[in-house]
């Protein structure tokens, strides 16, 4: 198993444990005690602070990524399909 060369134990968590909890941190589903632990680790670990920030920004960047409109005649085609 690959692991970063200098994984750190900060605020009772290893970097790998923070990596595993990132989706819950970004999605707001961590329990309060876990959230406090993760944030304490991130405050003391530059790598996790950078990577966590990057992860959150990637997730945020996806919201506006698709802007294509459906073909204009969707409703007319459905009417033709559904009407006997």
């Amino acid at each position: 198993m690959a692991e970063i060369a200098q994984q750190r134990f900060v605020a009772s968590l290893w970097c790998a444990e923070v990596l595993a909890r990132l989706p819950d941190l970004v999605d707001g589903t961590l329990t309060e005690p876990d959230r406090a632990l993760v944030l304490a680790h991130v405050a003391g670990c530059t790598w996790c602070e950078r990577f966590g920030g990057s992860y959150g920004r990637v997730v945020g960047s996806l919201k506006g990524v698709a802007d294509e409109s459906a073909p204009a005649d969707v409703a007319a085609r459905l009417d033709a399909l559904l009407d006997p």
């Binding site: 690959a2 999605d27 990637v58 960047s61 294509e68 969707v74 459905l78 559904l82």
Partner: protein, 186 residues
């Protein structure tokens, strides 16, 4: 304006005007989803139509209007897969998270910097999305592009909540790896 629950109840009762309103509300996001998961616009159009035909025919069987989004996206997903002749429900991969993290820039300033440099470029993000496997792209699209809840995405994918969360995390890391690589296809 009728709320979505009310619209769905009317569609379930056979109201074509309500169905038209529902189609108008959802055609663009469902189009973008099926377009991202089918190889050609023609197949995407087929999947789009069949999704809404499925909504019309199946709405009366939906017990809880709150489950509508997950159910509808599940229909769209299966129609896109059928149009593309793909199997759905592929087995989950077991690649270690730490390995995916390293590829995504975890522990590497250079690689992490490459990801950040490309985040603001919508074209680069779209390329990276297109470079993902169908399974990875689906889950990222449902939750992060179309903002379905994890429960709705799990419904659409036919997976447990835990499996959906795991798939989503791996897919996001692979997306970051694709951005770090330049977001180009193969």
């Amino acid at each position: 304006m009728l709320g979505e629950d009310g619209l769905i109840e009317r569609v379930a009762a056979g109201d074509r005007v309500a169905f038209g309103a529902l189609v108008a509300r959802w055609r663009d996001p469902i189009w973008r989803f099926v377009r991202a998961h089918t190889p050609t616009p023609a197949l995407a159009e087929e999947a789009l139509q069949e999704t809404f035909v499925g909504v019309w025919r199946g709405a009366s069987g939906l017990r809880d209007p709150a489950a509508f989004r997950g159910w509808m996206y599940g229909l769209a997903r299966r129609q896109a897969a059928r149009a593309s002749r793909r199997r759905v429900g592929e087995p989950l991969d077991a690649e270690p998270i730490e390995q995916l993290g390293v590829a995504a820039g975890w522990g590497s300033e250079a690689r992490g910097g490459a990801v950040l440099a490309r985040i603001e470029d919508h074209d680069a993000v779209r390329h990276a999305l297109a470079a993902l496997s169908d399974d990875d792209r689906e889950v990222v699209w449902l939750v992060d592009v179309d903002e379905l809840s994890l429960a709705e995405a799990a419904d659409a994918l036919g997976l447990s909540l835990a499996a959906t969360k795991s798939r989503l995390h791996r897919a996001r890391l692979r997306l970051m790896a694709a951005l770090a690589e330049g977001g180009t296809d193969g």
